[in-house]
Symmetry: C3
Subunit: 184 residues, 3 copies
């Protein structure tokens, strides 16, 4: 069981991590985006309809930080002439569970597990959900509602930062541009 | 007077409660929604224009948790064919006052006062306001700005949770669908 | 270097300050708005395009709290017949740095520096960025996306409040109404 004090602490840590996450994307520093995930992460984008019906196929699917790096490279090649910018607005996370996991992270890096990061003491395994809204700005043209939905997340929260182990992006609408130009 | 430390603590507690509140509604778990209120609560939805002119009539009006339960039942009967979904985005609360209220909640449940919840020690009576924006998603159709406004809230904040005593939902626009399909 | 504990504390303080900031503007209490800044503040509104190209000219430019007061007076005279209202939605701040600054604020007020406020002990000089979205409501007409962008901020965070030393408002779109009717 999560204690209220633990929930409160991880809530603040996740809120702060999300502020940096959206800033990275909206500033178009996509190369930094995989750094918000642990090495052995899972990331996918799907629709509410597919998610509800348990359909595995998503719009985007990645099973490691390396695949996220590849995704960014592909976006950079494809979107040379991209004229849009994006703005993510996130709600406060709802923390669903927060379990201390002393064994998962250790001072001795385990190959493939958070190897890129010094391991914090007393990490916490957190499940949370957060609403998002993304607007798209077209140069001096109109600003549109681009996407809304929720992140279904699993975070590892250490003393000094929170990293994503899993992010499932569930878009509310089924009408999502399949050539998604930015991460969500 | 509120102390900065107390304000800071209740600010975090309310922020977290709001994350769960909007998740409950947007996930269409409306039956859980009354659980965010104390038994003897007040909830109403009104417009900024009516609120400014002190007009009592609101779009929705309830004076107990039981009436919220009834409201959900009515919505379920009326909206069998509802095809929309909603996404609430909330700002950070502005805490207006936070007063310890040792007498209001006690370990001995008082009939009708928080009887459904174990009473926390050292509850705090908090007044706060929070901005909201709700978008409506129509299947694979467009996403609209559905409503914006502010919550004028009174919370009881205990050690492990925050419950609403009062929520007045003031919608910015006077053009609100009077057949509101979801709680705000 | 910022410590995680310090970052966490200032993150909460800024989040709370922003809740009050947007409430002040959206409630049309513009006369209170300069009170969120220190006396010797800098405030300007510009576009992402101008900001990226390093062009100094902004849509709005002020270099003291007194200029903000003047701006509000001018808005009040110009917008007697204003029929719109606005709603600001802000994301969680990304704290970029947080440095204790014992020398900047002192118990002995320095003329022109925070003279209107009792000086907190142990103030922290904080750089942060926050996303914003503003919608505009026209009486009983439609609600539009009015502006999106980010605040590039420098805050002085004391024990009991956070005051803005600098706010650069970078609007995503270049199509911004040059007769901005409210502060952003």
């Amino acid at each position: 069981m999560s204690s209220p004090a633990l929930t409160f602490r991880v809530h603040g840590a996740i809120l702060e991590a999300q502020g940096h996450y959206v800033r990275c994307i909206d500033d178009d520093r996509l190369e930094d985006w995989p750094g918000f995930f642990v090495d052995e992460c899972h990331y996918r984008i799907t629709t509410a309809d597919n998610h509800r019906r348990g359909l595995p196929a998503g719009i985007v699917w990645a099973d490691s930080r390396g695949m996220l790096v590849d995704r960014v490279s592909a976006l950079r090649e494809a979107n040379i002439y991209e004229r849009h910018s994006y703005r993510h607005l996130l709600g406060a996370p709802a923390v669903l569970s927060a379990e201390p996991t002393p064994g998962v992270l250790s001072a001795e890096p385990t190959p493939g597990v958070l190897s890129a990061e010094p391991a914090p003491d007393g990490a916490v395994d957190v499940r949370s959900e957060t609403s998002f809204l993304v607007v798209r700005i077209t140069g001096d043209g109109p600003t549109d509602l681009f996407a809304s939905g929720r992140y279904i997340d699993r975070y590892l929260v250490g003393d000094d930062r929170a990293l994503l182990c899993e992010r499932v992006v569930v878009c509310d609408s089924s009408r999502i541009d399949t050539l998604l130009a930015v991460p969500l």
